[in-house]
Symmetry: D2
Subunit: 346 residues, 4 copies
């Protein structure tokens, strides 16, 4: 079986394993206060073009989301997210378990717009009984969104302006950030993200690391005391250098972007194959996740050789599928899939 | 100014004040363990036709909702509610602050249906990654709903069946329960509620008391340790007899139903007046809350003499208004309003 | 039976009932935004000698404590309290349920000292792994303390200085504040409390009201958004004027202090009677609560005619009892008790 | 510098790195539902001699503690722990952030006794106002305790009996379990732990793994829905096989016990050296952590070549130090330390 169901079926790029083996017997200080992690922090700051950032490395996405949101919000505040956002529907109510409402907004595109954030805040503050409602205090974006689409620079700038208007933190979940930055449609840089958001993270788990997310904080109020929140939310790794080390390797020699570009290029090849046989898509993704709408009979045929996700049923005869590429996807796997696309759907 | 904006602008029925004055110098045990409260409990049980109920008196609706839901749910569980439900949008995220997601379902009618509860649960349990989502474990209904409409007996029976199917607690918020029971369209009795729900409450604050909600628990697992939750959520009144006493008075001599019937009858008179001048309604309410859709210019005229709520804008020229009656509404007030309806809108 | 077990066995001073009856049919705005409550707020500010205070009225002590502490703390912060403090042991973990650790310090006197607060904070901030511990961010004092003793002005000034040193909010629980202010040993005024604390409350439930605590906030950061927290914690009374009204009456014509002085004077008479028969005390209280250490056989005799609390067993033969006076205690009751003290213990 | 300050300064045993490298390109199912993890689960069950256990692998200790406790407790319940217990003082209030009070009991030995648990529960349930207190519902033990001492089988059996008496879950934190099992004073087996506790974990992070704790649940109520809690608390690793794999390697060929025995034997050699120069100990540890009480001047000399922890000051001239061994400690390091002990203190 060839697995295209997600971007985390394999381990990590070999250079990471080599580096771990190399450091394995070094005695390093615990809890991410070691020199290796410090080096990784410096690399993140350099790539973001700023020295005044706080950089922390966490194990996974739910942990990063919960820790950042809990660190940012007071008890009466909530976070605005798209209804499809990961924190709204795929984290077992972790944000609510930390005490905060996710203010979920419907979205046709899977992304939030500055306009709808503005409307929610206006509705809140102009309501005479606003104190009877959760106060919106943060905006959460996934970039790429759950459907593989990405925010443009101008969209992010408009959202930033609305956040400034209503005193909202802006938080960007970059669990798959590499694939956004590597998208042919992308016009957003890491420097832009450091400038436009208050906090974002550079995903490792889904982009070549064994695990790990690099949280980048530019807002000083959020940076203060952040390590308390890491510890409280169970994210303070005794051998924290394992996290720093992985980003030290990933961010060296353009590796992070190189593997992202490769995976996206493979996805674009597969996308073209689907398009050539007349398949349409649930979302117009130019990143490593594709959501073709497939006839149910075709699904059965793919099932024989492929693992992928089957999602929403579009109508009686069609279902949305998800195929992902990653750093580990080989060209042979891509060519096999393309051949089968042509064979089954052609 | 005449106030029709809610059903809690005045204090309480005079008999309650008399009773408080009568008991004021009696030395009574604290924390609702007194004889007066015991008498009120007995009355509730008698009206519900069952001895095996736990009855607790809490101060207000948000407190009752939070306490009941926190008592019922484990950390990974959430409560299903209509998107317009009070817990979903008018309690400042109290349920989330207690750690639980409100699974808000859209509803045209303001009420939940057995079918949509069934669909949500099926979607949860048939999803292979169900553990990545909040587990639905309780259904919250407001009766009357926020828009003044009520559940029929058959609707409640269907919802009960779905709750049994998916192992959900059924919780009915009866902050305005009297007005539902007194509705000309009602076919549900207190006995039905005790039989069909696991917990519900008989609202006092909005139905003639100074404050207070009588929580009636039939599910033994929920009844166990409930007083801990009352205390923890700040609802354990030192002079708890004040709560028991009010229900003792309200439930005596049919007072609770008598004042509810009076208020609903007044609302129906007002409704008829609106209908006669061709006004349509946002919801088809047969309880004490009316939601006429009024021309904006008419609103300006009403503003001169009336306090009421203006809600959703239906279109450029029309807005939903809310007019409420209560135990304290006088016939003179009703006639004044009717005269103005005819004058302004006729 | 004569009840001396607490200061909340009766209702309220008659003037409050009269005022409720007087306002019962007035149509007032809900949620404490009415004119009566505004008048009570003005009285509190005048008594504290400051215009820049936020004043909110809550139903009871646990609710007030939880709301204030949750409003003040971020998730990683905790509140320092004496191990005997109400929040540490008599509120069913309400503070923890709101997400915060109560950092409980042992105390022989039932009161905290500036020195021990200083030591805790120094221990926290000088520990290299401070982020692995709850950050102390608030100090909670009960005044009078649970054992009836009170803080002197100089003690409070020292504690304030330590709070400034370590950036701690200072919160004073005044559930029985009247009895502290009326103590023959007191040298602290309401103005002092407004100046030295960031937030405190003037207790009503135990000092002549049916229920209610007046929360007085001087720290602007704490005042901001406080009504959200009231609503979220279930303390936003629909008929909020009931709270304001009670304080409007209590704080008029020196009533609050008059009833407090009376109760303390009665307690001092009882104290003298115990002393004259050679009884010693668990704590040297000069407020309305007395904690005589009584022979177990005497307890049996008191049990025939009195309700009081029996607490800690001091040794095989002796137990700490608690006798309280209140606004409602009559001189006849006091004389009966004194006679029995002489009879049983003399 | 030689580091003896903790047992997690190095990475992992080489066999784990080899196994990761071997599996790195295998496509495995996510979220610990892979075949490697299944194999590790089987090994744990076999070692515990029971098939009916639920086994889950979590990243670290704080995460494991929070997840287990949150899964076990309802909102009004708390967990009993020694005041020195990790959850009581070194996890930034993680348990409180999950809503639960840690009922911390003083302990001279660092361990809880059946007797004191019994007393706390008796005090709770015999107090007439028990509902005003947190309900004890779980006992948390660290084994070894924070001071390196261990529970005997009879101590655990007595604690189990008390837990049965008061309906308490028994949870044993085995972050350093290997060193307890390998202690010359140990008489407790894994089978005993599976029989006597409701849940415990086999620590990996501090016993040869890169990270990871194997949570073993025998109580069915706790096992139900446990994966929801893992996800909600941020512990569901996308590449969960990394956790399973490490335990698969550790539990193979007696490796876990072999490295534990080696580390404890080294600690015993060091202990003997301290004893021979007349040093006494803060606790009588027979595991991998030693707590010698050292003259402050000696500490300065050790500081030149060693990293270790300096803790409590015993008196003006003496301080408690902590020296740890681990799987990675070499005999050369031990001999160097022993030589310096003799040189400095001899």
């Amino acid at each position: 079986m060839l697995r295209f169901e997600c971007d985390y079926t394999e381990g990590c790029i070999p250079e990471i394993l080599e580096a771990i083996a190399r450091e394995n017997h070094t005695q390093l200080q615990g809890y991410s206060e070691d020199t290796v992690t410090e080096r990784a922090r410096a690399k993140v700051k350099a790539l973001c073009g700023r020295d005044d950032l706080a950089v922390h490395f966490l194990v996974g996405g739910t942990q990063a989301n919960t820790t950042v949101i809990a660190a940012a919000l007071r008890h009466h505040q909530g976070v605005i997210a798209a209804a499809q956002g990961h924190i709204a529907c795929h984290e077992t109510g972790a944000i609510e378990a930390a005490g905060h409402k996710v203010i979920a907004l419907p979205s046709d595109t899977g992304r939030l717009t500055a306009r709808q954030i503005d409307q929610v805040c206006a509705a809140h503050w102009f309501d005479p009984s606003f104190e009877h409602q959760t106060q919106p205090a943060m905006v959460y974006l996934s970039h790429p969104a759950e459907n593989g689409t990405i925010y443009s620079l101008s969209e992010l700038e408009e959202i930033r302006a609305v956040c400034d208007k209503w005193h909202l933190f802006l938080f960007l979940d970059g669990a798959r950030l590499g694939y956004a930055l590597a998208s042919p449609r992308n016009d957003v840089s890491l420097q832009d993200l450091a400038r436009l958001t208050d906090v974002f993270y550079i995903g490792g788990t889904k982009v070549g690391a064994l695990f790990g997310e690099a949280v980048v904080i530019s807002h000083p109020e959020l940076a203060r005391d952040f390590r308390y929140h890491i510890k409280q939310r169970g994210g303070m790794l005794a051998k924290g250098w394992l996290l720093g080390l992985q980003f030290d390797v990933l961010l060296e020699n353009d590796r992070y972007m190189a593997i992202s570009r490769k995976a996206v290029a493979q996805a674009m090849e597969i996308k073209k194959a689907f398009e050539e046989v007349g398949v349409s898509f649930w979302s117009d993704s130019y990143t490593n996740q594709l959501f073709p709408i497939l006839p149910n009979e075709a699904l059965k045929q793919f099932d024989e050789n492929y693992v992928y996700n089957a999602g929403e049923k579009i109508d009686e005869g069609h279902t949305v599928a998800r195929f992902c590429t990653s750093w580990a996807t080989t060209d042979a796997q891509v060519q096999a899939l393309i051949a089968d696309i042509r064979r089954i759907l052609g």
